[in-house]
Amino acid sequence: MTNTTSETSSADTPPPAQGAISDFGIDTTSQSTGEAVRDYVARLRGGELGPLPALLGLVALLIVFSSLADTFFTLGNIANLLAQGASITIIAMGLVFVLLLGEIDLSAGTASGVCASVMALHLVKGGNLMGGMGDTVFYLFCALLALAAVLAALMRIWAGTALSAVALLISLIGVPANPWVEMLLAICVGTAIGCITGFLVAKVGIPSFVVTLALFLAWGGVVLQFIGQGGVLGLNNEVMFKVANGNLTTAGSWALFAIAVGGYAAVVLGRHFSRLRKGLVAPPTPLVLTKVAAVVVLGAVGTYLLTLNRSASSLVVITGVPYVVPIVLVLLVIGTFVLERTRYGRHVYAVGGNKEAANRAGINVAQIRMSVFVICSSAAAIGAIVYSSKVGSVDPNAGGGNTLLLSVGAAVIGGTSLFGGKGRLRDAVIGAAVLATINNGMGLLKQPAAVVFIVTGLVLLLAASVDALSRRRAAVAPR
């Protein structure tokens, strides 16, 4: 494979003011494809696996299930799979931030349940949370929201203060029921919960495992209190229902494809060539082009398939990309941007890598540690909106059960390290895809729940082992 593109583009633009820099020893700026591949293999051998094991696993699962279950690769099932995995994906994306610091948030699941039940309560009671909760509980609820706002202000996490205050306002004023207000309320309640968790971990100094284990139990109780034993709050609302069950129109689907894939290509290629122009370290051009082309083709095929009619009956027509796809994509893009292109994201990685070094570099470690819990709980609230919409109701078990375990599992299976400092947001998406595929495929194969749980557990164990082993490998890799 030739490498002319990258060579010419770096050769005919003499890097500015770099007489000395070209002097810079063996430093390589643009690699050839061969070098890049060798480099990648060396990194793999050094224990930097990234999402590779998860991707291989996903491919294996797809092959196994499609050969065993005829219905697996039907359009209806693929769309179903996306909707099933969406909420887990979103909660897992929030958890990635926490895991990057080497912390854990065990309360993300039940915290999302609290958000879901507040949202449902607000809708069902027509905005009268006080009536829904009872006076005492309502005042306690408001006091906690106010406390969260104050704690966030203390740590100068202004977004946390603002959103907690919004939740407080919506609750106190009694804004009439409106699906958009409810969703905003859910997210704001999530933020407030995160402020409290984060403060306990970062400022009070309780290990995150203990704080979130305690809160896991407490929030579970709160959900029960809000909804009542055996109660169910139905979400009888068009907008609310469509979040997880609606689809874009065919035109909308293609517009999404154009924006998402076009945007991706523009950003990746623009950045790549700008780096080459400035004589900076850049991967080989053919590799970048291949990557972009792969995304374009996959995106086009996926969009095309999802715009076909996938209804099982001839009476209704179901077409279009499900809404959850753009929701997950938007969150993925925003989160990735924050982690990789902003100062805040850099500091998150730094604190996860070496807290002491970050501290000496002048980073406010406590603030960073608190902020990741705020992000995690806010993401959990968005996940709560999606799963409540999928089911169409909120019951006392919302966010309980294995919601949390699947989310943590998704992040870890995708390649996020439990030891902190290593992982990307896309890991959560890949990992959630693996878990959703297992759940969906095993269901189609009519396996009992027992088997599904055991297999899911083993896969998680496998992923954690891969993480631990690759970490050990990295530690002994030649220096």
Partner: protein
């Protein structure tokens, strides 16, 4: 003799009842390597931490470039152009060289990162130090050797147009070849006109790179001498007994912590 870039006069420091530094006078000349030697517990690290603003001094005066300054915290020291390279490096393993060098002081507008600018600046600094051993400035620090890591830590200190660099045992954990690299780098820092303070236990290193040697004995400045005026044995005596011939404290036996 040129004006010292950093001049400490009569520094005292106690931790509770323990009087760690007794009337320390210490000067750092620009373009010179000053070795700070002394036995364990002699107060080397405490002195460095006082200069870096990590510990406030109890009494005494600090002059920087001829003007009296008051250092109240690490930020003040950094602002003056005093950088410390700590023994345990303070690098993040999961970040690459550029990211580590700019950690906490990233360039860019409105919270966004200007990677291109940072990469070029990092490369320029490494080039100016004639560092040729790292393959790429985008290599993760985790995959560097001990000497390379030390190099990155030192380059990080130089990046900020610093005027005084304090190195706390930079060669303690290194092999022969890597020690070589770091000592060369220390020399180059001085050649660029920086004031360099090298804390070391290794006499060979000290005699190889230092222009002057300052010897601490039980929290007192036993002697500040030119390297060429003393022998190996004299310095060892100064370290262990506080006195060697005419050099050193008048009555070391009466010195107490």
């Amino acid at each position: 003799m040129t004006e010292p870039i950093l001049d400490l006069r009569g520094i005292n420091k106690s931790f509770g009842p323990v009087h760690v530094l007794h009337d320390i006078d210490f000067t750092v000349q620009p373009g010179e390597v000053t070795a700070l030697v002394g036995d364990n517990g002699a107060g080397k690290s405490t002195l460095v931490k006082c200069i870096a603003g990590i510990h406030p001094i109890d009494s005494g005066e600090v002059y920087f470039e001829g003007e009296q300054v008051h250092i109240h915290g690490p930020r003040d020291a950094a602002h003056l152009g005093i950088e410390v390279v700590y023994q345990d490096l303070a690098l993040c393993d999961n970040l690459d060289i550029v990211q580590n060098m700019f950690l906490g002081r990233e360039r860019g507008k409105a919270g966004l990162l200007d990677e291109a600018d940072m990469e070029q600046a990092a490369r320029k600094t490494l080039t100016s130090l004639s560092v040729r051993t790292v393959k790429s400035v985008r290599t993760q620090v985790a995959s560097l050797s001990g000497g390379q890591r030390q190099t990155v830590a030192i380059a990080k200190a130089v990046l900020w147009n610093s005027k005084v660099v304090l190195l706390d045992e930079p060669t303690a954990a290194l092999g022969v070849a890597q020690t070589r690299q770091v000592l060369d780098l220390v020399r180059r820092l001085a050649e660029q006109g920086l004031g360099v303070v090298l804390i070391s236990h290794n006499m060979n290193d000290v005699f190889e790179v230092a222009d002057r040697i300052a010897c601490l004995y039980l929290g007192r400045m036993a002697a500040e001498v030119l390297t060429k005026d003393v022998t190996h044995g004299q310095v060892v005596e100064l370290i262990t007994a506080g006195r060697s011939g005419d050099l050193g404290i008048a009555r070391p036996e009466s010195a107490t912590i």
